[in-house]
């Protein structure tokens, strides 16, 4: 069974249609890249999958392992294994990162009927993961993303992904704001999570990221729908030709 099936999805924001019948199927183990010009609706798609309020779905459906995702609360989706690494992660002053990570992880486990992590087990796990992503411990003592640099915020998203072990990872421009070394480390972190059960949807503007995270499929999104799908070579072509051909369509 497909992990994610988006069928003919139509989405409005404040009376303006942003997605006009978008379809996308992602199977376990696959890596999909989505590329496309600014404002084509990539983040909108990722938000609707994660359940962000403020979007009106006027047509189509989204199935996750055959279940209607649009019927679920955002936290239920997270517990079922949907994870979105945000393009713009928010800062949450006064909520310590460690406390947030533990509360979130245990909430997901509880929702799945699994036992909660004990404090030592949790600490051990966070330490392992943050070390592999080169995230200093003192960052975890601060408020969630508070005072983090752009790149640090992105690394914090990957840290959460590694910790929660979701089955669908949507990465919305995880490469923006990362320097070359940080990009490699983050990409290694993502690659370490690749498995036969897990799928990735990588939204990016740059083919460079796809050298590190090699996709099975590349989709071009323009004006609210997928206009072309190909293999990894499509990304290289786009680098050459740009999006003009799709925008005119």
């Amino acid at each position: 069974m497909a992990l994610l099936e988006v069928k003919d999805l139509q989405v409005r924001v404040e009376d303006r249609e942003i997605l006009h019948g978008l379809s996308l199927t992602v199977n376990p183990g696959e890596v999909h890249a989505i590329m496309g010009p600014n404002g084509s609706g990539k983040s909108t798609l990722s938000h609707v999958i994660a359940g962000k309020p403020g979007y009106e779905v006027t047509g189509g459906q989204i199935l996750f392992r055959g279940e209607d995702l649009l019927e679920m609360e955002p936290d239920e989706r997270a517990a079922k294994g949907v994870f979105l690494a945000f393009q713009y992660p928010v800062e949450i002053p006064g909520v310590a990162t460690m406390n947030f990570l533990r509360t979130a992880l245990n909430a997901q486990r509880k929702a799945r009927g699994e036992s909660e992590y004990s404090t030592p087990d949790f600490l051990k796990k966070v330490r392992e993961v943050s070390k592999s992503l080169n995230i200093p411990q003192d960052m975890l003592k601060r408020g969630v993303n508070v005072g983090f640099s752009g790149g640090e915020k992105k690394r914090n998203e990957i840290l959460q992904m590694a910790l929660f072990e979701p089955s669908l990872c949507i990465l919305d421009e995880m490469d923006s704001g990362l320097d070359i070394d940080a990009l490699r480390i983050a990409a290694d972190g993502v690659n370490a999570l690749r498995s036969l059960e897990r799928a990735m949807v990588v939204i990016t503007h740059y083919q460079r990221l796809l050298n590190y995270i090699v996709p099975d499929y590349v989709h071009v999104m323009a004006k609210g729908s997928v206009v072309k799908t190909g293999g990894k070579e499509l990304a290289l072509q786009l680098e050459e030709s740009g999006y003009a051909q799709f925008e005119d369509a």
């Binding site: 359940g51 955002p74 928010v90 949450i92 006064g94 909520v95 929702a111 408020g143």
Partner: protein, 441 residues
């Protein structure tokens, strides 16, 4: 006009109550005369109502309607219920002084050998056998506020704490007001806290109810003086029963270079009003005050604070936060007066209200009266719901709605709780806020 207003049923009921209670009120001679004058002042004004500017958001005539009769002295049942309640509200490492239904309870209090320079007596003791000057000070309050006047007239007991010059009191004092009445009643307490020059101390006040307590009204008044160079940390926790009234005032005077840190949290009582007046009497003093209302249902919580910058070079910081759910109503009235001589005053006031429901209400009335020209004064206010984008981020990470809200509310009140210097007191307050959040979930 006022005389006419006083002739309400309420006025008559209280009048009878005062006549009836007089026998039980400590003090005679001048003390009795001060009480009589105060009572007359109360009778003339009656319960404050919305047409009196200071009380426009807290109309006691509408909310309370009547002053209940004076509570009986606690019997053994009341005392044993109070004892059970204390187990719940005890704070480790503090010296506890307990008032049950407005009467000092020696058996529940820790009267063991005090640190050097520390003395505690009851109000009753002082009014019956103390020296005249102290008696006068205890009942000298301004009768222009009817509720303070009523308290002066009816004050049954309280604690009179004196800390000698230069004494550093390590152990925080915890004054616990426990309501344990078996029939609806009112309790009136008045306490005094005098901190000598160069001294420092921590005073915690809690208002709580024993299990199964009837509806009650707690009227309290606190007189505080902080000596030159002294430092007082003051915590006030209103955790009264949800059908209780808590009407209280504080009159604080600060000496030169004194420091006052106050933290107040209201999570209990159906209707509460707290009127602290802080007077800077010596130069170079500083006040940091943090308030938190955590209210729900139809609770009404009013803090009306008066910061009187009477002398130069003093600083005050007021940050008042409210978390308001359901149809609850939070009021903050902050008045700052900078008198003509009080140059170089630095006074700031901030209110932040978090509305958790569409019917929640926050009223905020800042008043700055500045008569000096070389000062820094300001006030600000924010009111709003929880930030949707933060809530979504947390929910996208698996937190159910209520838990996500709880984390953000914790962060919001946490900033105020951080101001509490003492670790075990801070933990105690965090736990109290946590209980409120859990009861909500």
């Amino acid at each position: 006009m006022n005389v006419v207003l006083a002739k309400t049923d309420t006025g008559r009921a209280v009048s009878t109550s005062f006549a009836f209670a007089r026998e039980r009120l400590p003090g005679s001679g001048k003390v009795a005369e001060q009480r009589r004058q105060a009572f007359e002042a109360f009778e003339r004004a009656g319960l404050p109502h919305r047409r009196i500017e200071d009380w426009k958001y807290t109309d006691l005539r509408a909310l309370m309607r009547e002053v209940l009769p004076l509570a009986a002295s606690p019997d053994t049942t009341a005392l044993s219920r109070a004892e059970a309640a204390l187990k719940l509200h005890a704070i480790e490492g503090t010296r506890r002084l307990v008032l049950v239904d407005g009467v000092f309870a020696p058996k529940l209090s820790d009267l063991g050998k005090g640190e050097k320079g520390f003395s505690v007596r009851t109000l009753r003791e002082v009014l019956e056998t103390g020296d005249g000057a102290l008696q006068g000070e205890l009942l000298a309050s301004d009768n222009s506020d009817p509720m303070i006047a009523l308290n002066t007239a009816m004050a049954t007991d309280g604690v009179v704490i004196e800390i000698a010059n230069g004494t550093v009191l390590e152990q925080p004092l915890h004054v616990v007001h426990v309501a344990s009445v078996g029939t609806p009643a009112a309790m009136f307490t008045r306490s005094l806290f005098r901190l000598g020059r160069d001294a420092s101390a921590t005073l915690v006040e809690s208002f709580v109810a024993a299990e199964g307590t009837e509806a009650y009204q707690a009227y309290d008044s606190l007189i505080v003086s902080v000596g030159d160079n002294a430092r007082l940390d003051h915590l006030r926790l209103v955790e009264d029963g949800l059908d209780a009234f808590n009407i209280a005032s504080a009159a604080v005077t600060l000496g030169a270079h004194a420091q006052l840190n106050t933290f107040g949290m209201v999570s209990g009582a159906s209707v509460s009003r707290y009127q602290p007046t802080i007077v800077f009497a010596g130069e170079g003093a500083r006040v940091d005050t943090n308030g938190v209302n955590l209210i729900k249902g139809r609770q009404h919580a009013d803090t009306t604070m008066f910061m009187d910058h009477a002398v130069p070079h003093c600083a005050s910081r007021e940050v008042f936060r409210a978390v308001i759910d359901d149809r609850a109503h939070s009021v903050f009235q902050g008045r700052i007066v900078v008198r003509p001589d009080a140059q170089k005053t630095d006074a700031k006031m901030m209110t932040r209200a978090l509305l958790l429901s569409d019917e929640a209400e926050a009223d905020n009335k800042p008043e700055l009266e500045i008569f000096a020209d070389d000062v820094t004064c300001g006030h600000g206010a924010t009111t709003g719901a929880l930030d949707e984008s933060l809530l979504f981020y947390l929910r996208a990470r698996g937190l159910p709605e209520r838990e996500a809200q709880a984390l953000l509310i914790q962060a919001f009140v946490g900033e105020a709780i951080e101001s509490i210097a003492n670790d075990s007191l801070r933990e105690h307050v965090i736990a109290a806020a946590q209980r409120w959040l859990e009861a909500r979930a």
